[in-house]
Symmetry: C2
Subunit: 339 residues, 2 copies
């Protein structure tokens, strides 16, 4: 794995105290400072051992101009931390198989990992913006672009992960149409020679979107670009029926990793003590494992979450008959009891 | 609706005879002529009243260079016919609700239409290709670009369709990140003022990919760009469990429409008499309705298909216990009997 603190475990300035520091970003930062990612937040994050991020965004800032959107702060943070590898597991827990909208036999046993390229592609490609075309008409445009090293490094991470899982890597692209995808496929195929023990396949993105619905168990590890990863990882997480349960990790070559739940900020239920805290709690577990190399501590948290589910506690999003419906706070307390 | 022959029903040179002419494209054309879209095929198509297209592609040509791929022929045909509006219905027939991998209560009653922009965006945007970046590294790149008139015309078609359906249009984009999407959203919103009776909403593409799995019934008409439409329409069609059943229509301002099944060429079962012919048969119905203005004839075909299903005939892809498993040929014959 790539994580600053596993490869360079020497203490850093900010890690003298074990108490994590809290810094604003997104909507909170906009309200406090007028920008979605204050410089102090970015530099504190860069000095940190690992970063746990709450979900961002909300109605209040939805109509902001681009540079004042909470989402822009998130993209700046990912770019500023150079966390190019976004790991998004989508697992169906036996306890929660009923909360999937997929039939039980389709959902049961799904255990896949989407490895999404996070700091390249159309999210960051230039030129981008607004302008006029040769006919004088207004246009909006973006550039999907990938360079050799960007593909090679995400491919290597994906092969490493597949190797530790079931040894199957599916690279998703649109190489029947896009040059950026043809180049992606060429590089991924080249890197495959370094991993003869991993079975590599390729799939077009439209087909992948179908196959996730048709037969998600066929997937072990998926590697794909930034925008396809955005779409497919959300689809995959919804297939598990437990999007409120799913953590993610974003890692770079060196420097701290960024850990956050896959779900958004759910502004529709804000302040109602209804949100499922488990994705954030499991993100903290990923932080311990991938960010601080504390696999045992991570396991304790993961087990506490499973135990809490086994004891029948459910927030609304994963509730099914026969269980105990609890709010966000109570769910957190129950997990604490299980540690 | 936009279709040459509804708006200009005067007979054209090629329509003197009622017998349709057959022209090669895709893999067949590559084998015969060395190119995926021979000039004669394009010009015959341009002179036609409407075009019925078989699915294209196959292992044999998978490794061809871009300009010799069957897919390239399809893109050239769409571009050459200027069919910018791709209509992809995804409907769950009561007879087939069990073939969906979604739970019955989730799949039942799904009836949505994806209106996909088909001749713009990243599929056709320039610059595109391979090159080197400032650091001398190899790159592959594409341009996502939309101009005012491209968005306005697809938006109008989508509003027209939504108006004839349940009056709800959901425009899907990634306006929290991409300028091309911000511009898309701006134009769609502007066009909305022409359709006060249609309710317009906006959704990010990642969320749309989730919502299609979570609660597909929330959608009536979806309008989106070329690449998002490619992904979401395939996902939507798989959700119905009947991708072998779904037709599509591609229409321009004037000139003939292009009608084709949503599914691919399924090279894995080629020549085994297993394919489901219903999507192609229903594409012919769409051709009659949208391409030739023959709504009654279209209805006859649609009813014949429903009748055949009611009589229990099923190809393998939509088979469920208690029905009669038939091959492609027999299915076609049964539909003929039902007309
Ligand atoms: C909020 C948005 C910018 C972000 C993205 O598109 O990357 C989100 O959808 C995600 O997947 O983390
Ligand atoms: C074959 C391919 C070029 C095509 C596309 O991407 O448009 C297909 O997937 C489709 O959706 O019709």
């Amino acid at each position: 794995m790539v994580s600053a603190l596993k490869s360079s475990p020497s203490p850093k300035p900010s890690s003298n105290s074990l108490a994590p520091s809290k810094m604003p970003m997104g909507g909170a930062a906009l309200d406090l400072t007028g920008v979605p990612l204050p410089e102090e937040t970015l530099s504190a994050a860069q000095r940190a051992d690992a970063i746990l991020l709450g979900a961002i965004g909300g109605y209040k800032w939805d109509k902001n101009e681009k540079h004042l959107k909470p989402e822009t702060g998130l993209l700046q943070l990912r770019e500023g931390l150079k966390v190019f590898a976004n790991l998004r597991p989508a697992t169906v827990l036996p306890q929660l198989v009923d909360s999937s909208t997929l039939k039980k036999d389709v959902a049961e046993g799904v255990d896949l990992m989407v490895v999404r390229e996070l700091t390249g592609g159309i999210y960051f490609g230039k030129p981008r913006g607004f302008g006029t075309n040769e006919k004088g008409e207004d246009i909006g445009f973006n550039t999907e672009v990938y360079a050799t090293h960007e593909i090679d490094r995400i491919a290597r991470i994906a092969f490493e992960i597949a190797r530790k899982r079931r040894g199957q890597l599916c690279s998703v692209d649109k190489a029947n149409v896009l040059e950026a995808s043809m180049f992606w496929r060429k590089r991924v195929t080249a890197i495959a020679s370094e991993y003869p023990d991993v079975e590599l396949s390729h799939m077009y993105v439209d087909n992948a979107a179908m196959q996730l619905v048709r037969y998600p168990k066929q997937f072990d590890t998926i590697v794909t670009n930034n925008i396809f990863g955005d779409i497919l990882s959300d689809e995959a997480s919804m297939i598990t029926g437990s999007i409120g349960m799913l953590p993610s990790a974003s890692l770079g070559e060196s420097g701290p990793g960024l850990f956050e739940p896959i779900h958004g900020s759910a502004p529709d239920i804000a302040g109602q003590d209804k949100a499922n805290p488990l994705a954030t709690i499991l993100s903290a577990a990923m932080l311990l494992k991938y960010g601080l190399g504390e696999a045992n501590a991570a396991k304790r948290i993961e087990n506490a979450v499973l135990d809490t589910l086994n004891r029948g506690f459910r927030t609304g999003d994963i509730y099914s008959a026969g269980n105990k419906l609890v709010g966000c706070k109570e769910m957190g307390e129950e997990v604490l009891k299980s540690v």
